[in-house]
Amino acid sequence: MGFFVFLPLILPLTAVPIARLTGQHLHPRGAARLMTVISAVMAVCSVLCLGLIGVVGTAQIPGNPLPDSWSDPEVRAALPYHETVGTAAMWLLALVLVACLRTAVRHVRVRSRARRALNGLPKVSGPGGDLAVLPDHSPYAYALPGSPGRVVVSTGMLDGLAEDEREALLAHERAHLVHRHHRYLLTTQLAANVNPFLRPLQEAVAFSAERWADEESAQAVGDRRITARAVARAALVSRAVPAPGFAAFAAPAPAPGPVPRRVAALLGPVPSSRNWPPAKTPAGLAALVAAVGTAASALCALNAAVALLVVLKAVTPL
């Protein structure tokens, strides 16, 4: 195993280019799926390697699952172990676990609270029955996953939109529900909890999911401009300006935020339906790098796990 066991912890960096170049030459559907798979695999490998480093490194601390024969000098020579690193890995693992639990609990809580809020609201059967219009001046629109999923829109949001734009909004939210985008979001959020290097992928997946729903909406209403107007107007109605944090100061040349980029993409050409970017483009190269990184990450994790198993088998008298 050796040094390779640490690789999966930094290999997620190979996915940064694809996260940056997302949307180029790639349909948002393909981009979201590709990046979700990449981040899930890399997160699992990271956890596996942290676990291995931890188990091996803390071999001499009581309570370690490794057998006593572990202290055999030959075994020690075969596997690198360092108590400080091992203990750190164990602490990191605990932190990761706590962070993931918090994310999961938050998801369950928000969804059940939203569902409870809609309790008692008469359900209309037939098309449009999933829509819950709530009388509220503050504009919002959410897709609430579940079975059946529901679309929650405030009157404040609907009032700000024209008739065709409302249709685009509903089609957008329904696309989230139909394609179960919340699973992509949850998966990548958990992955980003495991390894902070996966955070760019998480943001890129969240953006791709919105773009994906935008494209579905544009297809449903039959005009990309309508969806573009709906997104732009909804954003202006909500005008949710983030608290002046450091994002505002960190960017001297203001890069457009996600909403204008979505609108611009909708006003541009239809994205090609391919799920893998063409080879001789920056995006193709980035996808290749990310794929190689993922494969290497999986190999390293597997290699380390197998090495540990082989050594264990060798030293365990059975």
């Binding site: 809609l118 609201l121 919002y140």
Partner: protein, 141 residues
């Protein structure tokens, strides 16, 4: 909890909002138990904690602004009644959830995310170009 009840003067904004959401729900619950239209004083008596009359009035007017309660004039004061429609109550509960959960956008896919400082003008320009077709131009004017 006790701090939040008396929060209007002190405390940071999110805490105050959450406190208000809870108070509104309490007031609404009291009104729903009422046999008929109730006065603010009646509500105040039945609320937990020692809330000032003006606070109850503020909450009632806020609920009224949200269409969660209706009011009828009786003499020099109002009589309040919980709005009967389920949508209003659902909206209120949803509002409480949205105010209480800072990370709701990480869980529920929101239609639009927050704008960056320069996004607004950019969006207006894009909107203009998106509305360039005649039908939309009519509606714009």
């Amino acid at each position: 909890m006790a701090d939040e009840r008396h929060a209007p003067a002190a405390g940071d904004a999110p805490a105050r909002r959450r406190g208000q959401g809870e108070l509104e729900a309490q007031v609404l619950a009291v009104l729903q138990c009422a046999p008929g239209p109730a006065t603010a004083g009646w509500v105040q008596e039945r609320l937990e904690g020692d809330l000032a009359y003006t606070t109850v009035m503020t909450i009632l007017s806020r609920l009224h602004a949200k269409n969660a309660v209706s009011r009828t004039r009786s003499g020099r004061s109002y009589r309040w009644q919980a709005a009967s429609d389920a949508a209003g109550l659902a909206a209120l509960r949803m509002r409480r959830m949205l105010d209480g959960e800072a990370d709701r956008n990480a869980v529920l896919a929101s239609f639009v995310s927050a704008l960056l400082p320069h996004d607004e003008e950019l969006l207006r320009a894009l909107l203009d170009s998106a509305s360039a077709d005649p039908a939309a131009a009519d509606r714009e004017s």
